[in-house]
Symmetry: C2
DNA sequence: AGCAAAATCTTTACAGTGTAAAAATTGCGA
DNA sequence: TCGCAATTTTTACACTGTAAAGATTTTGCT
């Protein structure tokens, strides 16, 4: 197996550095650079793997429910669950600063994930969504679902929800809060 | 003026390093360390300033509207506008990894921002919210609004919405999308 | 098989970085 | 003014990403 592939088996993303992955892979410190060009390249390649895992989890979750509503809820929960299980990877995937979205593998993986989201929204609206041309309503529905779940996930991973949770009635769980958030009427203003 | 204070006048947050702020402040490279302890301390102090600015913008926006609905919308727009005007700062404020939330100044500034959000939600629900004890409904409403706006903001700053925007009907603006997202019915599942 | 070319890896080097400890300087109150 | 504490500089170290050049291995082709 090539060093490049060994590098991509890393699971802890905390202290991710070119030299660290080189050490772990048992190669010289400059070897990874040859494969990935630079740190941005390595991170982008890892993020692409993340998007594929992430998408697979969502597809699997969507297959479980019976109604469109159940499927949507299952997918939303799978979204948060994936992020909780792989917080470092989720951060990598959605922190554009160190990402090169023009890399084909990353671009494609991210696009497939987005298509899954759009398809899911179309399903729940009982209409076929043409990704190339969205109506305002469709775009709003997609962005609403995405913002809601992504925002919740980010706040959760960044520890911004612990205070709210602690101040909720005794016995309240994160799951309960998440469901209540999704099911309620949105208009906050 | 002390070097420490000069450091905090930095506006570009892109290449923020201890040594960079030292250079800009015209002090030795190790001077900032004495004031802030370490990089986490510096970043946390900057984030506290950000939260205060941010909160001021929200309060100002809330004063403009007549009805509770108008106020809420104005605040939501001010939220996104602040993040667009200070993307580096917004990232700093919500990227916990390099933040020390136990720092009194940061903790307090972040709490005031949260109280503003909670108060805004209480206003739109026509009820007084006791921050120390939230009902499930109240917590869900707060987290829903926060997730929605924070998620939208993050996706926007990370460039994840440009594709959606490009595929919307000709003439659609970000503002239009944002309003449509907020006004629609939420249940994505 | 043999050999040239391409891919892969190592070595060496350099400019930055955060952080720690000691030395030097400054400011200020008694 | 003197002394002490706050502040800053100096020096040092172990890291980091990146670049360039040489060494090695793998691959493809006749």
């Amino acid at each position: 197996m090539k060093a490049a592939e060994r590098v991509l088996e890393r699971d802890g993303l905390a202290g991710l550095t070119l030299r660290a992955v080189a050490r772990e892979a048992g190669v010289s410190h400059a070897a990874p650079t040859h494969h990935f060009g630079d740190l941005t390249g390595l991170v982008s390649e890892l993020a692409a793997i993340g998007f594929r895992q992430f998408n697979a989890a969502m597809v699997a979750a969507g297959a479980s429910g019976a109604t469109a509503i159940e499927k949507g809820l299952a997918r939303a929960k799978a979204y948060v669950t994936y992020a909780q299980a792989h917080p470092g990877m989720y951060g990598l995937m959605f922190r554009t600063e160190r990402l090169d979205m023009s890399r084909p593998s990353l671009h494609e993986a991210a696009n497939i994930s987005f298509a899954g989201l759009a398809g899911s929204i179309g399903e729940s609206r009982h209409e076929q969504i043409q990704e190339r041309a969205l109506s305002l309503d469709q775009a709003a529905a997609i962005v609403r679902a995405w913002s809601l779940v992504h925002g919740f996930t980010m706040l959760l991973l960044d520890g911004r929800l612990t205070d709210v949770l602690n101040r909720m009635p005794h016995g309240s769980t994160l799951d309960l809060l998440f469901e209540a958030m999704l099911k309620g009427n949105t208009k906050p203003c």
